[in-house]
């Protein structure tokens, strides 16, 4: 039996193969993109999309942990991204004087964004995880809306006297020479762009490591047991709220880290960017990629972000085609007749080969 746990036989293990495939995919994609960047054959539009793609991939991996593994529909992932983004921007702005190098400041900002989003996730998780099904979904939706309207009205700035914060614009005054970090509906302006694709890729790999380690651990199996049958899981002594909270908070932290990276990739960022539609968009990536399937999530996120850009020549019709593609994919992948045909096609081939 000892052989079974040896490194080589683990490669043959199906779940490990899936795991290795997603890491390989990310690394190959990274090398391919870097080569293309070096040779200059990547258009400016695509290179400007690189960091946002990594951000959405991380947020989608987080959401897949929540929706696919934990089985709870979350319609507020953009809210956690928003928390991470504005936290990251503020941290980066505050540290701009003391840490001039971009990379360490970016990493600190990402960690702070993730931690704050995790704290929010915990606070929201307390009411959310008491509910079930669609009621849970609506509370996460409500949370996303609340976060958006709070950031729309938050004024944060820093000057020689320290940090200032207000919800009312007229109460908000900075000393001369002070720096505005967050300006209500205008959001963050004049942010130093310190995000880069390498850090984004590292973040994707970290997200994969976190999620896979969680999935294949004792807690991960508890999370999936709680998803598959709540009552049975409870009866064997799994603390349902604690396991669900673990998935929820991890998912929020990943979204926060993604948000911080996203926020530091643009010089201006408005709170409206992270609205309900963004949450839905991330959910679409997750569902199309396959629930619980991280490799699928990565592929579908990349394809669905690039699709509108590839369709740009069709101008106004591109979002219409995007919508039609979305509906058709859902209809085809859920059509029993087509799916059985598809499967018989493959099993037939396998038989023929043998």
């Amino acid at each position: 039996m000892k052989e079974k746990s040896s490194v080589f036989s683990r490669f043959g293990d199906k779940k490990n193969r899936g795991r290795l495939m997603s890491f390989a995919l990310v690394i190959i994609a990274y090398i391919a993109v870097e080569v293309l960047l070096k040779t200059g054959s990547l258009g400016s539009m695509f290179s400007s999309l690189l960091v946002p793609i990594t951000c959405y991939v991380v947020a989608a991996i987080g959401l897949n942990l929540n929706v696919g593994i934990s089985g709870e529909l979350n319609l507020g992932q953009a809210g956690f991204m928003s928390v991470g983004a504005f936290c990251g921007i503020c941290v980066s702005g505050i540290l701009a004087g003391s840490i001039t190098a971009g990379i360490p400041r970016l990493i600190i900002a990402i960690i702070c964004g993730a931690v704050l989003a995790a704290v929010f996730g915990f606070l929201i998780g307390i009411p959310v995880l008491k509910l079930q099904g669609d009621y849970l979904a609506i509370v996460t939706l409500a949370f996303g809306q609340i976060i958006k309207s709070i950031f729309m009205n938050a004024y944060i700035g820093i000057d020689t006297e320290g940090l200032h914060f207000s919800f009312v614009e007229s109460n908000f005054k900075l000393q001369p020479g002070g720096k505005m970090l967050l300006n209500g509906p205008m959001g963050a302006t004049g942010t130093q762009k310190i995000a880069n694709f390498t850090i984004g890729t590292v973040l994707v790999i970290v997200a994969l490591l976190v999620v896979y380690n969680l999935m294949f651990s004792r807690s991960g199996r508890a999370i999936m047991a709680a998803r598959d049958n709540r009552i049975a899981a409870e009866s064997v002594g799994i603390p349902i709220s604690r396991t669900k909270m673990l998935a929820f908070v991890t998912s929020a932290a990943l979204a926060g880290a993604a948000g911080a990276l996203y926020g530091l990739n643009y010089s201006t960022l408005v709170p409206n960017k992270f609205d309900f539609n963004t949450s839905i968009l991330i959910l679409v990536y997750v569902v199309l990629g396959g629930l619980g399937n991280m490799t699928g999530t990565i592929i579908s996120t990349v394809v669905l972000i690039l699709l509108p850009e590839l369709l740009r020549s069709l101008q106004d019709y591109r979002m219409l085609i995007y919508a039609v593609v979305l509906i058709l994919i859902m209809l085809v992948t859920n059509n029993e007749w087509l799916m059985t045909k598809w499967k018989s096609l493959f099993s037939g081939k396998a038989k023929g080969g043998a």
Binding site: V67, L73, M330, E336
Partner: protein, 291 residues
């Protein structure tokens, strides 16, 4: 007295939410799906009414009827093409399809009618009557009256007609209703037709109150009405009515007394608190799962 006029305005806004929420809640009750494209049906209804009033110069009641007819057909068509093939599919797949339909309608409207907003003509007289010291516009009164009439008709329809009892049977147990000879697909189509027709009525009221018509006008009222439906207990018709009215009143009061910008945060905050106290909404049924 300011309070009274805020209350009546809140009831007016709440009536619009209630009419939209009825569509959400009926579809949820019978098809067990969250129809995220419902808000965009409102948008289509508003455009139809707008063109009927301006291009074809139809009288107001005919314009409303045109909007209802188009929305009803659209609702049934969407159900047949996009949702019917997914009857057995997991609910998330249906949800994503509904989102796809929503994108389709928004972008279709943008291509057909451009993204710039159009000014809805004011057809309902702009006068107002005074109740004590508060003045209430005819439009608000008409909105509240419409909502009450819709609610009464719908309750009678659900409780007194054969189709209505078939609908109630379907929402209880689809398999058993099928065995009793109820055409479940037909009932689901009828539900979508009624929901979309109600959305058309709401669209005219909404466009008269906030007179601009644009491709994404339906999404915010859609989300609010969805919230209202959950607030009252999704699947429950009186729940949607009460939820809608309460949501409208809370929103207007939050705008008037606390902060205009933070009103959305307050509305959704109240929702979270209500769901904490009553986890299935105000009038929602508690489902006990048997092992």
């Amino acid at each position: 007295m300011q309070f009274l006029s805020y209350l009546i305005n809140g009831l007016g806004l709440g009536s619009v939410y209630a009419i939209i929420a009825l569509g959400y809640t009926m579809v949820y009750g019978i098809a067990k799906m969250l129809n995220f494209a419902h808000g965009d049906i409102i948008m289509i209804g508003a455009y139809i009414a707008f063109f009927a009033l301006t291009k074809f110069a139809l009288p107001f009641p005919l314009a409303v009827l045109a909007a209802i007819a188009v929305c009803t057909m659209l609702g049934v068509l969407i159900e047949r093409l996009a949702y019917k093939p997914l009857r057995q599919a997991p609910s998330l797949a249906v949800l994503i399809t509904a989102i796809g339909v929503s994108y389709f309608l928004q972008n279709g409207a943008q291509i057909l009618w451009s993204s710039s907003s159009k000014v809805f003509p004011s057809v309902i007289s702009t006068g107002s009557i005074s109740l004590g010291s508060a003045s209430v516009s005819y439009l608000t009164l008409l909105t509240i009256a419409t909502c009450i009439v819709v609610m009464i008709c719908l309750t009678l329809f659900i409780n007194r007609t054969k189709t209505g009892s078939a609908m109630r049977a379907c929402s209880e147990d689809k398999g058993a209703s099928m065995l009793m000879g109820i055409n479940v697909n037909m009932i689901i189509s009828i539900t979508f037709a009624i929901g979309s027709g109600l959305a058309a009525i709401a669209s005219v009221l909404l466009a008269s109150t906030y007179p601009s018509v644009y491709p994404t006008m339906g999404s915010m009222p859609g989300i609010k009405a969805f919230t209202a439906a959950v607030f009252g207990g999704i699947g429950s018709i009186p729940g949607a009515f009460i939820g809608g009215l309460l949501l409208g009143i809370i929103e207007i009061f939050a705008k008037a007394y606390i902060s205009t910008q933070l009103s959305d945060a307050i509305v959704f905050g109240v929702l979270i608190v209500i769901l904490l106290i009553k986890p299935t909404g105000l009038l929602g049924k508690k489902i006990n799962v048997k092992v």
